[in-house]
Symmetry: D2
Subunit: 395 residues, 4 copies
């Protein structure tokens, strides 16, 4: 076994917490881009499971192109009527025939998309509000084979870091709180966007929050609900951070012009907001422009051989593992660079940038980090099964 090319170095950059201004965003699970991410990834999972169950092998595929075309609604307080459905256009490449068996690409893709919506959205009904069609086709000839041992055929790149900054933590958790808890308490939908700004030792969360038109009878109720939502979110957010947290909801509202954020289905996809894969949250759940980040759209890519997907996920998992197991590390960023022709567990270089908890980077810390990173690389193949078991969210 070749020794892996691992570098552990001290981060030169300021810790994110020491930058005077920070912005972080999370698109909620009902945002049109998140819906596309979720559908793309679910198709990859269901396609892989179909292949395992029916063929005993995994097949190459790539479903990282899904486009959402917004619908149209006629909406007002207490009233909502779908005019035009939301359209989901699934592109993607897969293997139509294997071992003499036909592979139901389109059927798997469409059913996976519906399943995903059904399981994740409270009000949006894939059969009632959406038209989901598949334009998937075969890939280039050379990609249609069963995978035996996987080597990188491209120079690709993954990066992630851990832990989240305080602002990232607040933004992520507040979005999850609204999507998981508040939705059971107030008539709100899942298509939220939480934009966090840290400045002058205060946090401001600007939140787009859809309300359910059928459960709100007039402007007064809407305003009251906005206040209730703001209060609940504020209480929750303030419990996460000692600094002052300001909550601003639906700042573009203009009640006089009846411009408010009402929905029938809980997502702006019903009226005017299109979506696509890879345009939303990164694999760690946020968009953090001041952080090292990858442009790679992880969702929908195959978890067997797509370096871009696997290395981004592996960088996140390794970062988390380092923080968990090396208490002397306060902050870590992991970069993984693939090497053409080598196995995935043998990157060209794996770099960990470290902010130690105290003082400077010691050789003991370096050894500890190297060991954890090496171990994570060695277990590259467990990532695949974790993705197929849907143990992790990639957006």
């Amino acid at each position: 076994m070749t020794q892996r090319n691992i570098e552990v170095v001290a981060a030169k950059r300021r810790s994110i917490e020491n930058i005077p201004v920070e912005i972080v965003e999370r698109k909620g699970i009902g945002h049109p881009d998140s819906l596309c991410d979720a559908i793309a990834e679910r198709i990859s999972v269901e396609y892989s499971c179909w292949c395992q169950d029916n063929l005993g092998v995994l097949l190459h595929h790539n479903f990282d192109k899904v486009q959402l075309v917004a619908g149209e609604v006629d909406i007002d307080y207490g009233r909502a009527q779908m005019l035009t459905p939301i359209r989901i256009q699934i592109a993607g490449r897969a293997t139509p025939l294997c071992q003499g068996k036909k592979v139901p690409i389109d059927d798997v893709a469409i059913q996976a998309a519906k399943l995903q919506i059904r399981e994740s959205m409270k009000y949006l009904d894939p059969d009632r509000h959406m038209v989901i069609d598949s334009y998937a086709g075969r890939g280039a000839e050379e990609l249609q084979h069963v995978v035996a041992h996987v080597t990188a055929n491209d120079t690709s790149f993954g990066v992630s870091y851990w832990p989240r900054s305080a602002l990232e933590e607040v933004v992520f958790k507040v979005a999850e709180y609204i999507n998981r808890t508040l939705i059971t308490e107030l008539p709100v939908g899942e298509d939220i966007k939480v934009m966090g700004l840290r400045r002058n030792n205060a946090l401001t969360l600007t939140i787009a929050l859809p309300f359910m038109a059928l459960q709100i009878r007039d402007a007064a109720s809407y305003q009251q609900l906005k206040k209730d939502a703001a209060a609940a979110i504020h209480a929750y957010a303030q419990s996460l951070d000692e600094r002052q947290v300001n909550i601003m909801i639906n700042t573009a509202d203009n009640l006089d012009q009846n411009a408010v954020y009402l929905t029938l289905t809980g997502t702006s996809a019903e009226m005017g907001d299109d979506g696509a894969v890879g345009r939303g949250n990164r694999v760690n759940g946020v968009i953090a422009p001041f952080r090292s980040t990858s442009l790679e759209a992880a969702c929908g890519k195959n978890p067997i051989s797509h370096v871009g997907k696997i290395y981004n996920v592996m960088a996140l998992l390794a970062s988390q593992d380092i923080i968990r197991r090396v208490p002397t590390v306060r902050e870590v960023t992991v970069y993984l660079l693939s090497q053409i022709g080598s196995l995935l567990d043998q990157p060209l270089v794996a770099t960990a940038l470290i902010h130690p908890t105290n003082g400077s980077l010691t050789s003991s810390i370096i050894d500890d980090v190297r060991a954890v990173l090496d171990e994570n690389l060695a277990q590259a193949d467990t990532i695949q099964s974790r993705m197929l078991n849907r143990e992790m969210t990639l957006f």
Copy 2:
């Protein structure tokens, strides 16, 4: 006039040239993602021009969702037959009615897409090889108005830097050389990908390069052409950098299995590679994962009010201007952060991270950079006309 909130600070991070490993990628103009970027941006331009010509105003719009569904070809040396067309699915939001006049959204979008392909691709024919359809619709009600003075209604973010690193420069120029010059000399197409790796003081360019099936009669010719192309590219690339430059073309080729990169149209979109907007090059023309970067898809967004688009472009232009006009600056990265409710030329904060040419950051350099940055912000509105005149490429 309020003074702008401009910060000029010394970069803590190592210069990109001092990082031991660097990777940079550029997708050529025929890559499926680049085709989508190009189409999306062209639609925005043509739609804006239509509105100016016919209504005398610009209208809100957003065409940053375009999906390419790959076609299918039957191909071999000397022979190529389109089986299934490439499909372009244009999503997007625009204003269907203004001042009592109907706005031909679908027609403008489809014709703009065809025009873009016709002008940029040598072999790909939008009428012969593609089916281009528009699924564009109206936006949410509040976005359908004419724009008077534009304030940011979101906290958004733009970042760019200048100059390119040496590797970025080589990757960018080599891709452009192939797309503009080599294509006139050898039977190659536009869907190239140049992946550059700098390591151990050498540059390696791994290049995917499509050859035109109809002009190549057999495997021997193909191999010869690959050699010719490699030689030409090597000569050009080596002229750009003193270090050793290695050229590797179509590394996945397997001539025994007839797995070679032949195309009918010059792009893999004809067979198995889908595309989408915002998934390729950034506004400065490359994908540079070790650099500060924005996830924002600039192409297709309206150049009037979309902060994400405008601030990314402005950050690039300001960086270039600083390098051009402040010789004491060797490297600059500009961050622009919008402020809800403020005009675009009044960002919440504009930050320039500086690597001075020599020594440390002096107050004189700070003043010079601040002045240039301030001037660039003041001319925010010229960016719009530069985009509408197609004076800049955003991908």
Copy 3:
């Protein structure tokens, strides 16, 4: 009130029963063409009901273009897998805006199509096996108004006759027997075609009959089921006619080559048979090439003003009424010709061709027939409500 222009004349032609050879066909309710007819008509009904409920008026519309694109299945005894869904492409014209209210054309059309499939098909599931999308749009400007009093703006034509010939009766009833009764007793689907031939005083019914793959384990079972089905159908058919009735089922079967008529959903739309409106049964439920017939596609057209639809239905209803109420008439064919600019109850000419029960046409018969026909014309407007209440099947 102008007297109506009614002609009652003796039929010169032989009665259909006296022609030596007769062929008659009925496509079952699961035939792709019948599915399109059924969907088109249901959309017209649901759209009309929506308008009545929400606007208090009926609006012009025309949904007589619906196309079914066949899916693909992988099928064998005991096993069936959808590969590609059946696609329904709804075209059509309607009114998007009335009295300031938006009319949900696409939503009504898609939901109506699903409702129709759900109510009429035992195995075919619109959400599981089909992708139903609407491409409906506005009509030409002049058609977008509410209808007050309706005059024909075209010279159009309707024709029908009554009673059915003996062969027509057998074909119609056998098809209905299979679609309503046999389907509850044997594992068969709805996409049948019954082709009847009368010759040499015998009737031969050649029947295409789909069997449900999941309920049939092998070729032997299939053959046994075919025999069972043939026996049941023969018993039923023979009870309808004294002459010898021969039953031939799935004559194209080739068991050696595994070419048998197995389905997952009960319709060949799942694999290889497309469908369209107006290509199947006439309003009296059969295709009888030796009879006077109209090419008009009645299904999906608006029941308010579309002369072609209304006059075909009216000709059938009037024929039935004449036979019911004038016992001296054995056979009647009614032709109705519209008059540009006149109300629907004032045709240019209404002709009844009569075969009297005995002997020749008397003035008493003529008077009786004229009275019934006149009465039917006077009640033209009841036809609309009968169609909207779905009291009659048009295919």
Copy 4:
């Protein structure tokens, strides 16, 4: 050689000329239904030619489902703007793979459709005004084989007659005159409908005639052009028949409300009129409801084995041949009924209904007609090549 089962009998029915009222319709070549017919048939022809050229055989196919979804225009005198393109949805079944060669079904279909529009329409541009896509797929397994000797696998039916009635002749020739000649003289389009009514010894032609908006500056010009057109058509029509011919053009026009028949492309498909195959003219070029007719959509079906298509064409050709070669026959209607399992030239029964020129049907006439009909049946296979050479129009 078995003797063919040919019956020659005297027609009992009145000659069409003796019926007091007659209506006949022809949809011009630019009518949405005619466009679909033309496209469907052209696809069949081009697909067949591709197979002959590349495989040396003909393959089973069926392209008789093509749907046109109307576009949208913004139009007025002197001004016309496409808003939404006309969409052509090609369904159909064909063979994707033969002799190891891939068959470019979609590409052939789309290019054939464009070729047809380009060759037949003066203003309508398939690339500028239309989006043409193919949804064609494989047929059921048993239909995917090469055809050797063709036997009918269904009881099917063809019927036609000759000569045209006087009214049919006027309607047909006037429509052709407008589509071929008048279009070169006046700014008119191809989407015409000529509805002819014979009554009281006069002919009335009610004609829908599209005018080209860009060539007409105002209502006065429009009215003048209508008068010019009416005069030219009247002169031509009157030259065809001695009886009085009345011409009525665009009777639904309402100049006060600006409701006139203006087009950009020459067809109402641009705004509000959908189309489908098999919904327009019969194989003899007209819709004649008082005549024996077939519901079969001939266009797009394969000319190798589809009995419905071949027998309708053969009935027309045989009728024409009988009239040409048997001067003692004034009028003939030919019915052809296929026989399951027999070759196409061996129908179950071929019937010719005869109106002799003078007096009653003699055995000499019977023999002559039988001989011509027999000869036509014997040459069944020449029909195929005539269709593939596009020597006949089927609509």
